[in-house]
Symmetry: none
Subunit: 173 residues, 4 copies
DNA sequence: GATGAATGAGTTTTCATTCAT
DNA sequence: TATGAATGAAAACTCATTCAT
């Protein structure tokens, strides 16, 4: 990946995250990235290709993010790890995750399929810890973490540290 | 409000919810609503005005939705009511709420200000029930409900009934 | 002429003078005049009709303006009178005359025909005063007065009083 | 400046001069110039930008036009030169100057500021020639020339040659 | 790989005008 | 006489994309 290609990708990420996919013109991406309009298309074929490239990066990060959780054998530790995740997002990555959320709404795509392994992994953990309704517990926890992540990314959480502790305590972790 | 104006509003709501604000052209709204494109602008000045009108309706409904919670005096009952809310959304209103969520992401606006009274009301409830960290509890609950609502609207919840029961039990309600 | 019709005419005059004919929409005229959009058309048929009505008023005033000059028998007095004209425009009539000038440019119409009697009258005056080239003198004087009027209407003349005196002296009046 | 950009500019000049700024659509400019409408906007941002570009060219020519006058040291020669100017406009430039006049009316902008050096230069000439009211003389002469130019451009002058002579004689040049 | 001029189809918006009331 | 909802056509402007260099 050449330097300019990288710049385009990064710029597009930022603009898509800030303004949305449809509201961001390819020409704006090019201008902001300091490259010619044509180059965007040379590298990514079309606007959708640019988006795809970004999304692919997103999924990679996403998997990396969750891999550690799924691999964890100890059920209590597995729950701990998934709960900690939202709080570990580095501030410089907020833009990136914001984009992922934003795009999911804008393009309306369904992530349930991709989440399945994670859901199952969490379900199993609750099962092993003898929760009476492990599947529902997993669903609820993931929804909670989803709401929480949203709030964190939007800088709407006042006291992350204690919120984390509270949540951990609720699951006796 | 004339009949046609109403139709435009309704059509725009549906299209914005389905496709997103930026991806929906005013000409499509007009065509779908069976009116001339000019009329859209006569009534709402510009595309943003149309959106605003929809959003204003949204806020009205939103307030109506939460009014019952805030007015409730008994703290346990208040919590019960807020938890029940997401599960009471009528299926024909999914579009409407989907739009509200979608737009919030697409336009990136901050709803914390508008949520304040609700947050305070829930905080107070937890306080009265002697939870050790009422403010954090309120924050967490609302985030949970936010994630949950999202899932419900997107038809991603498998067993709402039991999910609701589980959540109520967690708060001993 | 009803009161509302009069208001429309007056408003249109002002707007056309300020913004130009093409740049002024009928809806703006209606709004500014405080009447419905339809009424403008009821009274003047179409936008061109509105313009025509204004222009007709203009010609009336114009003729009134010059009648006194043409009627004057004494040649020196006739010249005096035509020279004084631009300086006698009342400030509240500037808008009106500005419009006349403006429209002439915008619509590109030729006023030579209408000016003929005046030109002849001035020519005759110069002839009677034994100027060697009366026709040229008349042309030049009228062009001077045209340039001068323009400047006056645009508030670009610093010292009208003395400018007038200077001009009169040049013709020994 | 690419060839097409040049063509657009030239076409716009002609159309604006003939029909006026507001009455000329960008689509007409594009069609007449044989380019896509988009290109007009690529090159000039918006319709006003196109106008501005033309006006800028106008000012350049304008300055060139008057530079020779202002540079002239001999006061009599300076007056001669300014008087000759309107008569030296080449017929193929009539369109251009017509536009300048037309736009000044349509857009209502004030050229006094830009004329200042010229006014001063003429004032000084009259002063050096011991005219009793040099500043007023300059004002009057320029207004005369303004009216005259207008008439020339509009082809309303019957005998330019002798009109010129008459004017020169009036200033003993 | 990189540029930027050029396009064509679309989008938002304006506007003169009509018509039912 | 007067209103204002409604229209259809055109205007200004945007944008993804192509292509010659």
């Amino acid at each position: 990946m050449t330097e300019k290609k990288e710049t385009i990708l990064q710029t597009a990420l930022e603009l898509f995250a800030k303004e949305g996919f449809n509201a961001t013109s390819t020409s704006k991406v090019a201008k902001e990235a300091g490259v010619s309009e044509g180059l965007v298309f040379k590298h990514f074929n079309n606007k959708a290709g640019l988006l795809e490239a970004i999304l692919k990066e997103g999924e990679k990060k996403f998997k990396l993010f969750y891999a550690d959780v799924v691999m964890e054998n100890d059920p209590r530790e597995r729950l701990r790890k998934i709960i900690l995740l939202p709080f570990q997002i580095a501030e410089e990555e907020y833009e990136f995750w914001k984009l992922q959320f934003k795009l999911k709404w804008e393009l309306g795509y369904d992530s349930t399929e991709k989440m399945k392994p994670l859901v199952e992994s969490i379900t199993k953990a609750f099962d092993e810890l003898s929760y009476p309704a492990p599947s529902l517990e997993a669903e609820l926890l993931l929804q909670t973490l989803d709401g929480l992540s949203t709030a964190i990314i939007k800088h709407e959480v006042s006291d992350p540290e204690n919120l984390m502790k509270l949540l951990l305590k609720k699951y006796e972790l």
